[in-house]
Assembly symmetry: C2
Homo-oligomer: 403 residues x 2
């Protein structure tokens, strides 16, 4: 069926995610991951599909993503053909690079970064902790996908060390003090990457989701809870989030997620028409995440239960006429399931620090310590019971630099 | 003193703001405004300063802004020399274009857009309206410059029509309805433009403000109050703001604001050391704005009284290690003075719609109607009692497009 050697580990022909890699030198190249390889797409196109060589010539996915769905679909078809048809082996094999030997880079230029808040369990857990004694969900939560803009300039690729942020916090005694965050946390999320832009003033309805969104990646939206809880009223999170947001280097195309698509949860009340997806294509996604802290699995957040889908989020984000640009990244919000071991943040896993997590080495964690490494992975259902891997988003906490 | 004809109207040699213009064709060029002219900086550099021609060759200020303060200062000195020394007249005059005949464009690529909330009067007024019965200022307000990230992709240049946004709102009866915003508002602000980037993980202290910030412009942060008030708890404003933010096309360099610098207000409590500017260079700015609605002055907001300076905002925005990029835009927040006719938004001027503004034609306004035009202008003190003009940021409201 294919001349290329595949390992049954999530990187088969039903995945074919896109990324940007280098091999020692400064040159960044667009690639497709397949098995243990990276196909150098620019080089392959120069030989096999010269009309597209320019699209893959820059060291980002930006041009390719901007081309739109027809080009994404045709590219996937061509690449699949190259990797399956033995007639292409001689031409393609020289453009394969060992996937373990490449350095991976931020795959696209992040235009605007928006973070949503679409897990009911996460929102309710945080409501209980941040606003005790009040209704856990704010009155708007079931009416619209709550979101806010984050800092695009500090989105970094997996592997980038995360410097512990400093900032203001209020102590339990009510003192306002400054220093390194003492409640540094993670948020395990899925991110959606906009390829095709939209016109100013023109909302993008849910049914156009797959025309604009190129693919998905993993996101760790690092959060300094002490900074966040002091600053966030009334204008939302700012410095508690803006120091770093990590993304996985491989963007899984929407076309690879066909088998993951499931019916989203029932919404009550029924959303306004622009958000009402009853009877429409399902954009619930059965993607399963794992969160590892220092190698130990601390959570398995299930994406399928998210209250709002990415299609609803896109429709909401643009319903006011806000336009999309190539490279817009919007993340789901922390993915937390109903079970305690499905929570996507440490503040939930340790219940605001009251119930520390115990690691196999006997150490305990409420929030992150310097040197801690967090790795988030995910898979979607693939062909014949195999998996489509999202790879990983990884980060190690390092202490603040001396001023 | 100068060979060039100047009008004493704010565009003298003490201003020399930078912008991007075109003259009919598609070519965008970097220019400096002086008197009734625009000096084509790329063309002039090719003749008179070839080493800098590449910096001005693109149709944005990006490259120039990225060069840093020494280059900004030298450029200002050179341009001043070209315009004052009669020996240069023959070489420079061919590169002057009639300022009334050019089309002006967004002068730089907006990287991240942050909006602050630095007017005590504005924050207190909005607190009284949005959170009646509670303390007008949230407990954190005097401890840190509250801010949030806005949408960089919908920052538009003055003159761009503003499409009335649609969205969800809650009616006084508690119904959740969808439709065009019925409370479309303005926010008169000053924006600061980052030129020189900073390193990830390295805070930018207040004393480095002028090394990173290239200049200032006017900002109208259009706001749909009905959308905003329903959505903003708990993660802050989103669709109530993200449809459009207008900026003036001329960026006034910090060097032109020397005579505007005044002592900022006394802060109580004294801020934490990283925000404590006592004994440091003053970055209060005596800049006076005027807001016109359909030609009629409805407000004269004074910038000098802003509680937090732009230097404090920059220090705060980076104290968590968040890095700066060339093109980062951070706005002051609505500028409102203590007097009713100094308020920088209609929600304050009409007190949430309870006290409509009367216009000279007899019509009344609480919020903006389709066809309304808002123009915000500003001046800073210049040489010998003259002014340094910021030009204007202008916008007309147009109805939503048919979906």
């Amino acid at each position: 069926m294919t001349w290329i050697d595949l390992r049954d580990d999530g990187w088969g022909l039903d995945n074919l995610p896109y990324g940007v890699f280098s091999t020692g030198g400064p040159d960044r190249r667009v690639g497709v991951a397949v098995g243990g390889h990276v196909l150098d797409l620019g080089a392959a196109a120069r030989d096999l599909w010269p009309a597209m060589a320019g699209t893959f010539a820059e060291g980002t996915l930006d041009r390719f993503m901007a081309r739109g769905r027809a080009v994404w679909d045709e590219t996937r078809e061509r690449v699949t053909g190259w990797l399956t048809d033995a007639a292409h082996e001689r031409a393609v094999r020289p453009h394969l690079v060992d996937r373990d030997a490449v350095r991976l880079h931020l795959p696209f230029t992040v235009a605007d970064y928006v973070d949503f808040y679409a897990s009911e369990h996460h929102a309710a857990n945080l409501g209980r902790m941040f606003r005790p004694g009040q209704e856990p969900l704010t009155p708007n939560w079931r009416h619209l996908p709550i979101g806010y803009h984050g800092r695009a300039g500090t989105v970094v690729v997996s592997g980038t060390p995360v410097v512990r942020p400093c900032g203001q916090r209020r102590t339990p005694d009510g003192d306002i003090v400054f220093g390194p965050s003492t409640r540094l946390d993670i948020e395990a999320e899925l991110g959606f990457v906009v390829g095709a832009p939209s016109e100013p003033g023109m909302p993008v309805p849910m049914e156009d989701f797959a025309d604009h969104v190129f693919g998905a990646c993993l996101v760790n939206d690092w959060s300094a809870r002490d900074i966040q809880s002091w600053e966030y009223v009334p204008l939302g999170p700012f410095l508690g989030k803006s120091f770093a947001t990590s993304v996985s280097p491989w963007v899984v195309p929407l076309a690879a997620l066909g088998r993951a698509r499931v019916e989203p949860p029932v919404r009550d009340p029924r959303p306004l028409p622009y958000l009402d997806d009853a009877g429409m294509e399902d954009w619930g996604l059965d993607i399963r995440l794992e969160v590892r802290l220092n190698g130990h699995v601390v959570s398995r957040p299930p994406f399928a239960g998210m209250y709002w889908t990415a299609a609803q989020q896109l429709a909401h984000m643009t319903v006011n006429g806000a336009s999309l640009r190539t490279g817009d990244l919007f993340a789901s919000g922390t993915i937390s399931g109903p079970r305690p071991d499905e929570r996507g943040s440490l503040i939930e896993l340790s219940w605001a620090g009251e119930s520390p997590i115990e690691l196999p080495d006997g150490s305990k964690r409420t929030f992150l310590e310097d040197g801690d490494e967090v790795v988030i992975t995910a898979t979607a259902p693939g062909r014949n019971g195999s998996a489509v891997s999202f790879g990983e988003v990884r980060g190690v906490i390092v202490p603040p630099r001396a001023g």
